[in-house]
């Protein structure tokens, strides 16, 4: 049963990922990306990591992809042919990747023959009743320092975005009415 679900989710992820880069309409690409995020969340559920599944949908599907869609719609790119028909470049990138994948897969097959599983099923510890608790405890004890570093990096990125997007209030050629009212205050 779990293998069936894994097969479904994995094949859908592959198919929709290809569609994201292959479709010519950027809105359709964004929608395929949405479907892909859902199936990644599904993979997390099959691994009994419900917390990660929910966070995956909230963060990627609920926030980031909406912003992508926003940009696509504001720019109103109906079709952009610049990035299509680049088969030669694609071939150059894909050939080594394909070879690498073959090598890895044959290695995985060998490992299965010697007894170790190529696709690990849900392990016993991931079946803990409350994976939210487990993630929280691991994150704030073992990985506390990386966690803090990541939050610092995100904070810097946030400040950077504000600095880049902000214009000086007194700037004369400022067409934005919102900033003008602020200057008046």
């Amino acid at each position: 049963m779990s293998h069936l679900f894994f097969g479904y989710f994995a094949s859908m992820i592959i198919a929709t990922s290809i569609l994201v880069v292959a479709l010519k309409n950027p809105v359709y690409s964004a929608l395929s990306l949405l479907v892909m995020f859902f199936h990644v969340a599904g993979l997390f559920v099959t691994l009994h990591a419900e917390f990660l599944a929910a966070v995956q949908i909230i963060v990627y599907a609920g926030a980031i992809l909406v912003l992508y869609l926003f940009v696509v719609m504001i720019l109103n790119v109906k079709q952009d042919d610049r990035y299509h028909n680049q088969w030669r470049a694609a071939g150059f990138v894909c050939a080594p990747l394909l070879i690498e994948a073959m090598v890895l897969l044959s290695g995985g097959a060998k490992a299965r023959m010697t007894g170790t599983q190529a696709v690990p099923g849900p392990s016993a510890e991931s079946l803990a009743p409350d994976n939210t608790l487990a993630i929280g405890q691991t994150l704030f004890s073992t990985y506390l320092f990386p966690f803090e570093v990541a939050s610092l990096v995100l904070l810097v990125a946030m400040i950077g975005a504000i600095v880049l997007a902000k214009r000086e209030i007194g700037e004369p050629d400022n067409p934005n009415p919102m900033l003008r009212t602020k200057a008046a205050e």
Binding site: G62, A63, F70, M73, N131, T132
Partner: protein
């Protein structure tokens, strides 16, 4: 094995059917109640023509929408135009799966444990609702884009910005409750609020979530695109916003989604902050009378009363407040609501920590 699976499926489908019926019925009542309440508040009668006292008005509306001509504008993206109302509706209805409607009872049918008052008690209940609530924006933004109309597009874009901004506040307002409850499951959160009404998380020591409740209510009003935050459908500037081009059944879907979403956020608010199905006194009156097996009626009624009071608040706000300007909306969300929600998390966390140390 197969019969067990079949039985489980049958029980779940029955529960889902029952919940769907209740929600759709509530939406029907709401459409009438809104017009009636607004009428009374504005010293009018409201709808009076269909049926005695106008109570059959929702059915007349539904039949009208059902038989209306279905128009797809020329130049619209047909696929996405058709998909958008469904994309709007599904996430809202899915959320009801984890709402506890009544006491946390369990009984066994042929070795299968059934919880009659919740379809599925999953351990990330509230995150599940937030995850699907965040998807409702897609229906709106795609509907606006696919209509190929500038009013719809502007409505859709406004909505996307608004929903993302206020969703953040909803999530942060809930965190305080989660710290107090120590669980993400709505069933466990409600169970933590039994006893007198001062055990409800809105009043509970060590950190009453009063501010979080206010932030939550204001933010969900914005998230459901209701007055005074209904900028995505501001009729004086955008005709009808993202559903300008929609008619007939597809319009009905958007309408249904908006009202079902109101019901959902009210249910979540009463489960998180107002004790869910718990009465304001310990136990139930039915227990005192000796009719323990009927106490679920009292519990579910308390849940209904709380939910309907919050829904009444939605109408009340609509009758009272004028619409905000877009920059006011954004400034209010990011500069007022967000800091309050963040401060609430800090204060709650410190209070809970101190309370644990004292114990």
């Amino acid at each position: 094995m197969v019969t067990e699976f079949g039985l489980r499926l049958a029980i779940s489908l029955t529960q889902i059917g029952a919940v769907m019926c209740i929600v759709v019925l509530t939406v029907l009542i709401l459409t009438l109640a809104e017009r009636k309440v607004l009428g009374w508040m504005q010293d009018r009668m409201g709808p009076m023509e269909v049926g005695p006292y106008g109570i059959l008005q929702p059915f007349a509306d539904a039949i009208k929408l059902f038989f209306k001509e279905d128009i797809v504008p020329a130049g619209a993206n047909k696929l996405i135009f058709t998909m958008a109302p469904i994309l709007c509706l599904i996430p809202t209805f899915i959320g009801f799966a984890v709402i506890p409607w009544g006491p946390n009872w369990t009984f066994e049918v042929n070795g299968i444990i059934v919880k009659p008052f919740v379809i599925s008690d999953i351990n990330i209940g509230i995150l599940y609702i937030l995850a699907f609530a965040s998807l409702a924006a897609y229906g709106i933004i795609l509907g606006g884009w696919a209509s190929n109309s500038k009013y719809s597009l502007l409505g859709g874009l406004r909505s996307a910005a608004q929903v993302i901004s206020y969703e953040l506040n909803v999530g942060l307002a809930i965190v305080g409750v989660l710290i107090l409850a120590g669980s993400l499951s709505l069933v466990k959160i409600t169970d933590g609020q039994t006893g007198w009404f001062w055990n409800w998380y809105i009043f509970a020591l060590p950190a009453p979530q009063l501010f979080a409740f206010v932030v939550y209510v204001i933010s969900v009003v914005a998230e459901t695109n209701r007055v005074p935050f209904d900028l995505p459908e501001a009729e004086s500037e955008l005709v009808a916003g993202f559903f300008t081009e929609y008619s007939g059944l597809r319009f009905a879907f958007f309408f249904l989604a908006e009202y079902a979403n109101m019901v959902l956020v009210s249910c979540v608010a009463s489960a998180l902050f107002l004790g869910g199905w718990n009465a304001p006194y310990p136990g139930t009156l039915m227990d005192l009378v000796g009719l323990s097996s009927w106490s679920w009626i009292e519990s579910t009624m308390w849940f209904a009363i709380k939910t309907y009071s919050l829904l009444f608040l939605f109408f009340w706000l609509r009758a009272t407040l004028p619409r905000l300007r877009y920059d006011q909306l954004m400034r209010f969300g990011w500069k007022v609501m967000l800091p309050i929600a963040l401060a609430n998390i800090v204060v709650t966390a410190i209070a809970v920590f101190i309370a644990q140390q004292i114990k």
